[in-house]
Symmetry: D2
Subunit: 328 residues, 4 copies
């Protein structure tokens, strides 16, 4: 029952993403505002199992809204996948007097939370924190907006040097299973072609597109490649392939890597995080559980965690079409 909630735990889990700190801050301040105690759980489920807890008051989250990463740290935790691990976690939470928790993370983190709450009937609310934007139940996940801006800034720089030398660049961006970063940043950066996990356009089409681009008089070409691209070739192999089949290009490769996970969050991610944190705490106090806070248009919505983890969000067909038209 909601009236029994006196202490709420909060933690981040899985890959970190910009906006996580803003979400932590929001959970902490909402608790303070509502006179609920708030406990930070360090290093995700691992810290939960180990009892790595620290009480957080409103002032302890000063000056973190604009910081990337997560002050509560994150970690993978194999133990929590076992019944024994979850038992330990439950005992630690009970010992500390924590009545409910807010988990900020992605699919894996929510799966863990779901198992836990099914076993122990423990109130849990999730906040989608991942740069991949692949979670059903929210149009945007925390960190996605920052990540696409980081990618676009990097490609703007690469474009400078590509144009100066009439070069072709293959740029690898994050996205093993989903192409949201690749597609959005690719359109935003004016990429010539965008290779994503959801589609296999084939290498023929790539060569055609590059030929057309060259013929049209463009001074450079950028091809964005998501990690999980379906051509079967990574960026280095793509370089070789194009050099062999289309020797008109001077080809270079850039792998953007982990910088995509960091950086000061954008205003969008900060605001979204602030809103989601409030909603998460209020939902717990309303007696809700097993739900994820999401955003649809400008309104916050709640989706069952079981629903959220079912599948990745689908790629936007309209945006693929826009991408094609823009490379005219």
């Amino acid at each position: 029952m909601a009236s029994e909630i006196r202490k709420i735990g909060v933690f981040t889990s899985g890959g970190d993403s910009p906006g996580m700190n803003a979400a932590i801050r929001s959970v902490v301040r909402t608790c303070a505002y509502l006179k609920i105690e708030c406990v930070g759980i360090y290093r995700g489920y691992q810290g939960m199992i180990e009892g790595d807890f620290k009480t957080l008051d409103a002032r302890s989250v000063n000056n973190i809204i604009n910081k990337g990463g997560t002050i509560l740290k994150s970690a993978r935790c194999d133990d929590f996948r076992t019944k024994e691990g979850r038992k330990k976690a439950y005992d630690q939470l009970t010992k500390e007097g924590i009545d409910a928790f807010v988990v900020i993370g992605g699919n894996g983190s929510f799966t863990g939370a779901l198992l836990f709450t099914e076993e122990y009937d423990f109130p849990v609310i999730g906040i989608p924190g991942t740069i991949d934007n692949d979670i059903l139940g929210s149009s945007y996940t925390l960190g996605f907006d920052t990540a696409i801006n980081t990618v676009v800034d990097a490609i703007d720089k690469i474009r400078d040097t590509a144009s100066s030398h009439n070069r072709l660049f293959f740029v690898e961006v994050m996205g093993r299973d989903v192409g949201h970063i690749a597609l959005n940043a690719g359109v935003g950066a004016g990429a010539e072609e965008i290779l994503i996990p959801e589609q296999n356009l084939g290498l023929e089409r790539l060569l055609d597109s590059l030929k057309r681009s060259k013929a049209s008089g463009k001074s450079s070409s950028i091809v964005i490649v998501a990690e999980g691209d379906k051509t079967g070739k990574n960026v280095f192999e793509l370089k070789e392939y194009v050099e062999e089949h289309l020797p008109i290009y001077d080809v270079r490769v850039s792998v953007l890597g982990h910088m995509q996970r960091g950086g000061n969050p954008t205003c969008f991610d900060r605001v979204l995080a602030s809103r989601m944190g409030v909603k998460a705490v209020e939902s717990i106090l309303e007696g809700k559980s097993n739900l994820m806070v999401g955003i649809r248009d400008t309104k916050l919505v709640l989706t069952p965690l079981a629903e959220a983890i079912k599948a990745h969000t689908e790629i936007d067909e309209e945006l693929i079409r826009v991408s094609d038209i823009m490379t005219t």
Copy 2:
């Protein structure tokens, strides 16, 4: 009839906003893709009246997707408010063989377009380009996302110096009639208090809030003030007022000004602009007119221009509440 459209004009009008160039590029490239001629009209309605036209092909919009401002320039135009002015504009368009136009701008620009199309039955589609985010029919206008990031970056810098000296800052941001920039950037920047045109919280509340903030041990306070704030005092007067009534603070003022209109557009604004440009051209070719392209959640929608100009979008009450809670 749609089949008759062979040449489409495009222009920007009113205050410029980041993303306008990306929208121009999108309109031009979509026309090229669909084998329609595209004509750039310079300096908005003024250039239309003067016949300041230039044909734009796909290559003419290279390397502008990431540039602030508008390559087609913008201008105010009193002449277009008169029947004679609009007659001249119509004659120029006819002479040039322009069959329809896409107008990128705000309320004022749409009002002009509406008058024009009612008089001449001329196909017109609008794209909402303004940093104010105040247009009914779209959850986001082009440039808003960039503007709130510009404001948040500036306040992050001000926060550095405010914290070092335990100071209170009043920061004025754009927004004569609406507080969307102030409210979003204020939450994003962790502002202590946010004064907007939609609400008059009263000066008492401001003093209370500042007193509480000081007592809570915060090392600095930032108050965001929209231009059209309803306290009846501008930032300089607010400074004096607080210095007189709450002499515990060392108060400073910052007016962010026109830098809020410029800057490289964010990825969000670039993608939105690219999508809207495609939709605008396609809508014209489908025989539609007098509509504005907007976005609702992740989908593009069309709204009658007559509807779009009726009122400002309302401020989000939930976000005001979040703002209050965050300053705990």
Copy 3:
């Protein structure tokens, strides 16, 4: 004697500047490296008088190299200008066992240090921390490089909107007594005219320059005005003056204000701060005092504090000439 130094104090004083935290970190870590104790003195001379001290070890300055502002805070202190104030400060330092201190600040801070060390023969080394770059004995002060980049970024944004509307902007930047920020940022931003405290070019020349600029077909004009400009008019008065005498322009004003003091320090400022901190501590241990660490070309140098505070560095005549030529 150098062999007696066991504990070094460090503080920031006067207006804060980006790079101060990096300098604090460097002083602290150099002390740790050399097995000297390091004590942070909060709020400059005020905290010294009040005994607001805290021991800082190597880990206490983690993750501050890239933060603007100063973790040790800064404050003005009238008490320290009196003999009694300095006596109290000396007593506090003695009580804490502090054998020497490093002061990070500008002219005013160094003047205080000089008075103090003359009265008490206390080892003192200064590090020039001010965005104004006005200190004899160093080609660059900490924060200057960051500040000119902040100004140039802001003007790049203003340029976007200025160009879109063919406008003239007067942009006020910091610099009451010296024009280094105005001149460097003005050249970097491609300003039409730059008004600085060191020269009175006269309003006639300004009008001539603006007329020429308009005639040459430029789409916008930016005039940078240092706070201490000698025309006798501030930016608002300049606007009125030009509107009256040169009505061909649509004129706007922007006052950049305190954001110029904040922001993440540039790499240049971080490296300079790191080097200066090492040099300051090592100089103390070598038995030196009453000196300021400066940089000449790529080498660190020491200058007597008495020398450093004598006068402002002069403006670079060659750069004024470059500025003139660039506006061709």
Copy 4:
């Protein structure tokens, strides 16, 4: 003789660097100011051989001071290494009436210029444009300051995620022969260890340093590796090595790549470029040749090209020491 100079060519050559456009603009505007004709030569020596020329007036370089890359393009040119190639270039220059040229580039570009001017007694002045900062005769080359800021920004982002997961990152930065970028950006970013071409510290030291870092309680470690590092291992091999010999770390790799060459130039690079362009043109008009414009402290200096290409600038031993102390 200087009095005979009526037309000056300008081009960029070799790898591009931020600030090249600002230097082109400066050369063009200085020519316009002095009533000399200025001709842009596209694609470096290749375009010179092909006669790819275009007259540039003051307005043709509007709005490029803040753009990365080079509007004149750059290219490698094997032909110019042959006597025949240089003969063709000379013929094209003569045909176009070009009396002298300014070459913006690095060592390779200067070597070509030197050969050319020895054969044809043609007035030539060089401007050092390369991100590597490896040219004798100038304390700073154009683009270096921008590049180190780009690297530091990227590492700040990587630090966010490294800290959140307690990870070790190997970050590869540009620098095949010199470690200036690695060393400066490494100190600026607070790197744990910096591996450069000029020193082989050995892998033992690396392991020791990482062990010490872990023991000291740091939450993350960043090791910067210049491309030409002398350990004999690239970043991927270093990762494997550490994982094998020091299994306490979760190791990741990031290769920053070509984004280091692009981006809007910093204020420092813009001002330096503006000054160097003026000096280059004026030097030609004073009858000088075979010289490179450089900067020493705040003053421009001239160095014989033959001197400039002799060797790389040496790494700063003091900065290496600072780097060691900072990782305490």
